[in-house]
């Protein structure tokens, strides 16, 4: 047993930490069926409660953080997690942008609690759902709701090798072009957030005859104003445009701004 342990110590240690989320992004690791046994052969999974009762103390070489900060307790816990992780990577729309639960950020949270819970005084929560980077420095943000498991494996591999991960921040349009998809927005008039959304999903929604709904969040330098105008040309009203920007990455600042500005103009 002791010789086993000392051998394991030479492997990089990974911790997986969860905040307010659906568990889907950390499940991506278990969903990498073909790669899983390879990954666990190369690293030591030191802390991953969804998969193991073994919960080893830090420090960790890589911390993967899923979920957004929505409680006082979690706002403190993320500080501890940061201290224990040499490299901190946030995974998914909750951790990188506050997630769908950030819709509360435009509403009265007290009223929200009364809608869901019979005894509101039992519930302790913050007014805002915020991304991890608003609380601690983050080394890399992996986008997506959910993340792409191959991007996650690339990111872990690159981090361990000390190189820059190959994760593009151009738009979904590039993926559509590469797949040979006919543009559904231009050809069929279906509102599509692809032009302002970061690639990574493989242009899924346009490939399934529906408009992109922005689950990978804003691309680098998105032209949201032009996107808003295009949606108006397609007959969308201000409320519809605002809702389109306010989904899983609503609190990402580019989408947040666009969702507020379309109502003002």
């Amino acid at each position: 047993m002791s010789s086993k342990k000392s051998k394991a110590k030479t492997k990089p240690r990974i911790g997986v930490f969860k905040f307010a989320s659906c568990d889907g992004c950390q499940l991506s690791l278990l969903d990498a069926e073909d790669e899983l046994l390879g990954v666990v052969g190369a690293v030591e999974i030191a802390y991953f409660p969804e998969a193991s009762r073994n919960m080893l103390k830090g420090p960790y070489d890589i911390g993967l953080v899923e979920g957004s900060i929505t409680t006082h307790h979690d706002a403190q816990r993320i500080q501890e997690v940061r201290r224990k992780c040499r490299t901190l990577i946030t995974i998914g729309a909750c951790a990188t942008a506050g997630g769908i639960q950030a819709l509360r950020n435009w509403k009265d949270v007290e009223e929200f609690i009364r809608v869901v819970y019979a005894t509101p005084q039992f519930i302790s929560t913050l007014k805002l759902s915020t991304p991890i980077a608003e609380h601690v420095p983050v080394d890399f943000e992996l986008r997506g709701c959910p993340i792409n498991k191959y991007q996650l494996i690339e990111l872990i591999t690159a981090t361990l090798a000390g190189r820059k991960p190959n994760i593009p921040n151009y738009s979904v349009c590039m993926e559509c072009k590469r797949k040979g998809n006919v543009c559904i927005e231009v050809a069929r008039g279906i509102p599509c957030l692809g032009p302002v959304t970061q690639a990574g999903c493989g242009a899924l929604c346009p490939s399934y005859d529906r408009g992109c709904y922005g689950c990978y969040g804003p691309m680098e330098t998105p032209n949201t104003e032009s996107m808003t105008n295009q949606f108006r040309i397609l007959g969308q009203n201000d409320e519809q445009i605002s809702r389109a920007f306010r989904s899983f990455n609503a609190w990402a600042w580019q989408f947040r701004k666009a969702s507020e500005e379309c109502k003002r103009t």
Binding site: K18, F19, A20, S21, C22, D23, G24, C25, L27, S28, L30, D31, E33, D34, L36, L37, V40, I45, P49, E50, A51, S52, R53, N54, M55, T70, T71, D74, G99, I100, Q101, L103, R104, K107, E111, F112, I113, V115, V116, Y117, A118, T119, F122, I123, T125, C145, P146, C201, L204, C205, S207, Y208, D209, R210, Y213, C215, Q240, R243, S247, F248
Partner: protein, 430 residues
């Protein structure tokens, strides 16, 4: 040995989400049991208001990354009911296939990767793989085949994008479905072996009286349709659900406890479905169950691993049946009218029944939403089971008793993300 003690598990592992368990004992008497769920509340029912009904399947999928299809199915069926939409029979079949994919994926994950380590004495599947690599490789392949169904129909495994009110955004061709057949034939055999393998595990002698609650359909093992029935005479339509079931808010949990009005706890999930629908299982699944001496009523919670394996056999056989019968619908989805209405639906998530209700206005915007996930329905029952089970463990060393109690909770395959989310076990012996 001290006369009393506390069993504490700070973080219950290998469940989906975050919770804790606290058990206080005086001698062999259990004084208090609390399944504490401190997963932060995300308040979906509140922020769904004002969203368009077409967004409900995409938004509610985000309640749970493990069973997004269950949320999508309950959402689309409830809204279709609110708006009086009739779906194409081919779409109905495809939705069954979609659910087969999720059940295979979720059950394979739970049986082998979350639950089996308890029986074989490992901390996790990674440790288990060192001694049982072939078993783990089989599990991963089985899980992947379930995921491949979801991937084909929905574009991706987690939060698939194709389910729509009225049908799907895009439906597969016959040829695409046929490509799944050889893998599914392997999966069917692997599932039958899983039934045999799981039946050889050691089960604690722990039988309880339960009120089992599940859907029941006249012709088939239930997914999306049927009446809600129980072994104690319940027989209702989804629309009557809130008349008979009520959610209570307790201080130690961010998830609501659901009980049958005037009665108390009940059990949903594989055991309930199996016990209430055994006659609707296909021959191959019934044979697999009877072959290992498993027949209703199964009242031992720990045997849920074998029942899940039987449901794996069912899901593989059902997927093959659907693929053989499938003719693509005329259109991927039917037109959906804009009108005000209220609709309820119950579908069978891998962990048990999932209830959704929506009220929609004439512009298609959601006025109110109510969601009751399977784990909040089982939560009270988990506490009741532990109250009984912990008293049997009074003489056990604390560490082992704690592990046993954790195992009892894991039998439910609880999804705390759904119910809200973190499981931590504390056993207190005075």
């Amino acid at each position: 040995m001290s006369p009393g003690r506390t069993i504490t598990v700070d973080t219950l592992a290998r469940v989906e989400g975050e919770g804790a368990l606290y058990i206080k004992m005086a001698g062999d008497r259990v004084v208090d049991v609390k399944l504490k769920i401190y997963e932060p509340p995300r308040m979906f029912e509140a922020f769904m208001r004002g969203r368009h009904f077409s967004e409900a399947p995409d938004i509610t999928a985000r309640i749970c990354g493990i069973c997004p299809i269950a949320y999508q199915m309950s959402a689309v069926h409830a809204i279709e009911r609110a708006l009086g939409v009739k779906i194409d029979p081919a779409v109905r079949l495809l939705r069954r296939l979609f659910y087969c994919g999720e059940w295979i994926e979720s059950h394979a994950l739970h049986v082998y990767m979350l639950h089996a380590p308890d029986f074989l004495g490992y901390q996790d599947v990674i440790e288990m793989a060192k001694d049982h690599r072939a078993v783990v490789e089989k599990a991963l392949r089985l899980k992947k085949i379930g995921n491949s169904i979801v991937h084909l129909l929905g574009g991706r495994e987690i939060h698939p994008i194709s389910a729509a009110v009225g049908g799907f955004y895009k439906v597969p061709t016959k040829r695409q479905l046929k490509e799944l057949v050889s893998d599914l034939e392997w999966a069917l055999e692997a599932s039958i072996e899983t039934v045999k393998w799981s039946s050889t595990l050691q089960f604690p002698d722990f039988e309880q009286e339960y009120e089992f609650v599940a859907l029941r359909h006249p012709e088939e093992y239930p997914f999306n349709e049927g009446r809600l029935v129980s072994n104690h005479g319940l027989d209702i339509d989804a629309a009557e659900y809130e008349d008979r079931f009520v959610e209570m808010h307790v201080k130690h949990s961010n998830a609501l406890h659901s009980v049958i009005r005037g009665k108390g706890s009940y059990l949903v999930g594989p055991l309930a479905r199996f016990n209430l629908n055994f006659d609707k299982l296909p021959e191959v699944a019934r044979k697999a169950a009877l072959g290992v001496g498993l027949k209703p009523p199964v009242r031992n919670l720990f045997k849920s691993i074998v029942v899940r394996a039987v449901e794996l056999v069912f899901a593989c056989a059902e997927a093959l049946r659907v693929i053989a019968e499938y003719e693509p619908p005329e259109a991927p989805r039917v037109a959906v009218p804009s009108r005000a209405g209220v609709g309820q639906a119950i579908t069978e998530a891998p962990r048990g029944i999932l209830y959704h209700r929506y009220a929609v206005d004439e512009n298609g915007l959601i006025v109110t939403a109510k969601i009751v996930p399977p784990t909040s329905q089982n939560q009270k029952r988990i506490e009741d089971d532990l109250r009984e089970y912990a008293s049997h463990l009074a003489a056990w060393p604390l560490e082992e008793a704690t592990w046993k109690c954790e195992q009892a909770v894991r039998c439910y395959d609880p999804c705390i993300s759904c119910a809200t989310h973190f499981l931590k076990v504390v056993m207190d012996r005075e």
